[in-house]
């Protein structure tokens, strides 16, 4: 077990209950997709797992400690005044690693996400897809045990999105972190995850789970298989039912 939420509830002042009760466990090296409508508490669940927010009630357990959890947001969230390599090296430098070693490891991480020769480039000089890769490299440079992706591809075009999804799976095969990623996209969820968790809003609870019975990383043409289609339909049905109930 890498991390878990047990009976977790979150109340916001003025808004009442926004999440819970929720039970969610992420196993070692597991990839979980969290899908659901906007405002169903997906991002809150993610911040709880990252330790950036505290629950009102319930228990959060994290095996992955500080420095072993990484987070990628919908936007690349890079510091514009730093080079790509400096952005990637930041988590290492903040944890006290010397600058030269940190930069060397940042270069390696950039190469691993398919970016070479951009070490000195500033975020503004990179395309959206490249900036997202830099963000991914920054998340991977600490060799995390838990990787949290908050709608990481939402702002990208379809082709870049699919390429990055494959890249994330390839990186997962290499480093085997547990991954929890939030998405609005059912197909992306089914393609990338070993388990899809569907949430509904008002307050955010888990409406159901669908296990995707196919080995990871997914073979080429997986999107055309019956397994993929059936899983996507089940997830869509769960989402639709959840939305009806919320309405």
């Amino acid at each position: 077990m890498t991390a878990s939420l047990t009976n977790v509830e979150v109340d916001y002042r003025g808004r009442g209950r926004v999440l819970g009760p929720v039970d969610l466990a992420i196993g070692e090296g597991e990839i979980i997709a969290l899908v659901g409508p906007s405002g169903c508490g997906k991002s809150t669940a993610m911040r709880l797992l990252a330790g950036l927010e505290q629950p009102t009630r319930g228990v959060i357990q994290r095996q992955a400690g500080r420095g072993e959890t990484s987070l990628v947001f919908q936007a690349a969230t890079l510091a514009p005044w730093m080079s790509a390599a400096a952005n990637v090296a930041l988590p290492l430098e903040l944890s006290g690693l010397d600058r030269r070693t940190a930069r060397a490891r940042a270069s390696e991480a950039l190469a691993r996400v398919g970016l070479t020769g951009v070490d000195a480039s500033r975020p503004a000089q990179l395309s959206g897809g490249m900036a997202m890769r830099v963000s991914l490299a920054r998340a991977l440079v600490t060799r995390p045990r838990l990787l949290l992706l908050d709608e990481p591809f939402a702002a990208l075009d379809e082709i870049t999105r699919r390429t990055l999804a494959d890249d994330v799976l390839a990186l997962w095969a290499e480093l085997k972190p547990a991954i929890l990623f939030v998405t609005h996209n059912v197909e992306e969820a089914v393609y990338m995850a070993s388990r899809v968790v569907v949430m509904t809003s008002g307050p955010g609870v888990i409406a159901g789970e669908v296990a995707i019975e196919a080995p990871l990383p997914r073979p080429a043409g997986f999107r055309a298989t019956e397994t993929f289609r059936a899983a996507a339909e089940t997830v869509s049905a769960l989402l639709a039912r959840g939305m009806e109930r919320a309405a």
Binding site: L52, S70, W81, S95, R122
Partner: protein, 255 residues
Amino acid sequence: MKSLTAIAIPLVFIALLLAIWETVCRLTGVPAYLLPPPSQIGVSLAEGWPLLLSSAWNTLFTALTALVVASLLASSLALLTALSPVIERAVQPVAVTLQVTPVIAVAPLVIIWAGLDHPERAVVVLATIVAFFPIFSGAVTGLKASDPDLERLFDLYGASRLQKLLRLRLPSAVPFLLEGHKVAAGLAVIGAVIGEFVAGSGGAQGLAWRILEAGNRLQTARMFAALFVLAVMAALLHALLQMAERRALVWWRGR
């Protein structure tokens, strides 16, 4: 070609205005102490050139000194408020009250405090007061303007308060600081002129003093000449700072 037109249009407009002005003065025979024709202002400018230039340098030097002092004071105070919410709560109301008090009303007090024998000091203090606020509020806003998701990442990576300040909040504040300094530079010139007016003595031999002096002697053409030099100086300073701001932003953003 486009930029040439952009420069030519205002120049032609100004030439037209001057021509109308000159013609009206000559046709109506309005006395020169009331409204001197541009040609006479030009003569006055040519004759008084060395004195006007040294006066302009005095005013500019006062404004720049004030800008440097204001920059140091405002940035340090903003940094203190960023470090402690208690300091921020204590300082903000005082800062706002001082800001809305017209500087001209404070001037006589400053002149007494700075010493009646040193009007130039009083002028620097007054210009500093005026230049202080845009830098201070820019810095305070800028220090709070960092990307909340980047802040979350810094928290996730266990950054200390100092690391967050040095590596996130200060760099995030750069565009706001640049803007604040640009506005402050213009205001520092205004502050210097107000200070010189209120000090009202030959101790501070700036352009405002030249205007006062010429006004007292009804040398209206000289007043206009000094005013012209003042306007050109302020415009040049503004253009210079705007260019510096643009360059600095390119460096900050990398593009």
